[in-house]
Symmetry: C2
Subunit: 401 residues, 2 copies
């Protein structure tokens, strides 16, 4: 948590990963983020992993540092309160449909400079999830073992997360424009456009049109340079990348490959120095030489040699290893132990990814209980008095947690 955005308030009407991620990043940088949910929780409120009490460890981590307003969104009164709150706040991030009751034009009718960031599936309003956007753009077919042809889904929902981060960026960009010009507006961000736009940004739309052909599957090798996973004599699997000249020279020196690489160059009639692409082209031979060298050494030896020559490498860790790795969690200042999670389970909670050396890092905050801030939000934001709030609670329009 950093306090970079103390004067920014955002209403978030969200489910699952992308839209909550946008709110999370904003909240962790100090914005006041009010997440509005159905009383009792929306469709992501029990998303796995869950505890024995069915409290979602997913939900309580994607919604840290937010306030919770619980409304009955199936009823007109609940929806009207949400519309009014969005208009008063002026900033909304949501994944609700573009033509529903949170349509931007409806909100802008009551607040002309309204900023809405809307995460969508397809641009036409059709539903897409991370998994189907990924299937559409072709990455699964390029992922996975060399000896297999079946597509491999990613496990980390990369499109959701990238879309969430971009949405947080787009919110700040749109707010900045409003402050300069008085203009609000809606920013629509379809998962499928983030996915195919990324394919383009990586040069792959151009590549497909240039070559006219599908790229071959590479397993764990890195395209266009020397990088792959290798296993040491003592069975440690590591990822190794020599992505520039210095690292290539370092790799050859670290593992004492000079003579064999020279022999390979003679055999092939090529010179690898200065040509990353040429090394990639002949990767099968180079990999065989590296594999043999690494397979003859223990990991500690390999690591020391590669470190001494500034070659990038890292061992594969299980997620259990990762969580127990003090570099990543235990001694990492982005984490702090937190006992006030809604689940009641105490564990190290993450704050903002970023570290600002000259600013104070505030400790991570817990996610709210459903409706925990209903009374405060309705009072402070909409000016409702306690009697009015009590009547809404009694009528089942507002939930308090």
């Amino acid at each position: 948590m950093y306090n970079l955005l103390p004067d920014l308030s955002v209403v978030e009407v969200s489910s699952f990963v992308a839209s909550p991620t946008a709110g999370l990043y904003l909240a962790q940088m100090g914005a006041s983020v009010i997440r509005v949910d159905q009383i009792g929780g929306g469709q992501d409120f029990k998303r796995w992993p869950v505890t024995a009490n069915n409290d979602s460890l997913s939900w309580e981590n994607l919604n840290r540092a937010k306030q919770s307003l619980a409304l009955d969104l199936a009823r007109p009164e609940g929806r009207e309160l949400l519309v009014e709150l969005a208009q008063r706040t002026g900033n909304l991030v949501t994944n609700l449909p573009a033509k529903g009751f949170l349509a931007h034009d409806r909100l802008a009718a009551g607040r002309t400079d309204m900023v809405t960031v809307r995460i969508m599936g397809w641009p036409d309003g059709s539903v897409a999830l991370d998994y189907t956007a990924n299937a559409a753009v072709g990455y699964p077919g390029l992922t996975g073992p060399l000896d297999d042809e079946a597509p491999v889904n990613h496990v980390m929902p990369a499109w959701d997360l990238l879309t969430g981060a971009y949405a947080a960026f787009a919110m700040l960009a749109a707010v900045r424009r409003r402050e300069a010009t008085g203009l609000g507006g809606e920013v629509r961000l379809p998962l499928t456009d983030v996915a195919i736009g990324t394919v383009a940004n990586m040069g792959r739309v151009a590549e497909v049109l240039y070559t006219g052909a599908e790229r071959e599957r590479l397993g764990n090798a890195v395209f266009g340079t020397i990088g792959r996973d290798f296993v040491t004599r003592d069975g440690v699997r590591l990822m190794l990348v020599a992505i520039n000249e210095r690292q290539w020279e370092g790799l050859v020196a670290a593992l004492g490959l000079g003579e064999r690489i020279t022999a390979l160059e003679s055999a092939l009639g090529v010179t690898f120095a200065g040509d990353d692409g040429l090394r990639f082209t002949h990767r099968a031979s180079i990999f065989a030489i590296v594999e043999q060298a690494i397979g003859a050494l223990d990991h500690s030896d390999v690591a020391a040699r590669l470190d001494a020559h500034s070659v990038v490498h890292g061992r594969y860790q299980s997620m259990v290893d990762a969580v127990r790795d003090p570099r990543l969690v235990g001694s990492n200042p982005i984490f702090a132990e937190l006992a006030t999670n809604p689940s009641g389970f105490a564990y190290p909670a993450a704050g903002a990814f970023a570290t600002i050396p000259h600013a104070e890092r505030l400790p991570p905050a817990p996610a709210p209980r459903n409706g925990e801030h209903s009374e405060a939000v309705l009072s402070e934001r909409l000016g409702l008095d306690s009697g009015a709030i009590a009547r809404l609670v009694d009528a089942g329009v507002v939930g308090v947690g």
Copy 2:
């Protein structure tokens, strides 16, 4: 391209993917982004994929809409020009080392409210790349076919891209703070912190500490709900997800599974309605039933049935399919044909992922040639006259392209 950030200038000193992505997103939203490179191009200038002339299709897509200043960064004169430009501009995004000549404190000595966003490997300054950060946090071990144990790398560099998007967001947050308080500062963003912070945000640090165990590998199945890939009678592989109650009911209805699911519930003594997690627990049986039903129908029939019941599905496309899919590229307004790419190859170029219905989308801009804007930048930003610039060019300190 949208013109949301017309008054923002950013100097980018970058290589590879994460840091250029931050500059790209800012430029596509209208910021003036000056990329500073070694004369002749930095270490990513020929990154594959390349054309027959060795022009990088990667570089020219990650650096659209930026200006290029080429300097000899190996020489003090070149470095001093860059330091001065960064200080005059006030905003720097870079992946150069924290303790090098672009150290924030050095920049801030000449510009007290300097904002630096620095993308790093590990927080201590050790090098990590997307591939090694990924290996460290455990996703590869959870990715890939069920019958395989070897880790599977992602092909899309998710950590680079997420870090780049977060860096663009962090830049706007830091600039906003400066405008409110006069305070600059450095924002450090290590790839490994983005990676383990994401593991945490997805609930998985909590999960590992709660269960004490590694999650099992799921192949292409989605954790905690019903989702997987299936193949139709005519051989089309599709991803299918029923992530809420309505979609689950839709799936059962669409494929006429009512009787078999009821029989399965009777056999198991459970009721699937209302319990996503229970369906996941018994996914093997449910998948077998769905697999048989989908395998007995052609894709057109499956798609029509699923659409009629609002079940989320999408076919796996190769990247060639994706680039030829008019929904994604040909008829997608985020793309526009561009003939002025540095490679000389004309193809549809992507603009901002976001669409702003009430604002004008400006066409995508090409990446610059190395040093294309050197004279303009040195003149406009540093006030150098043409004689001074000519002397720097003659001395080999400045490159013009």
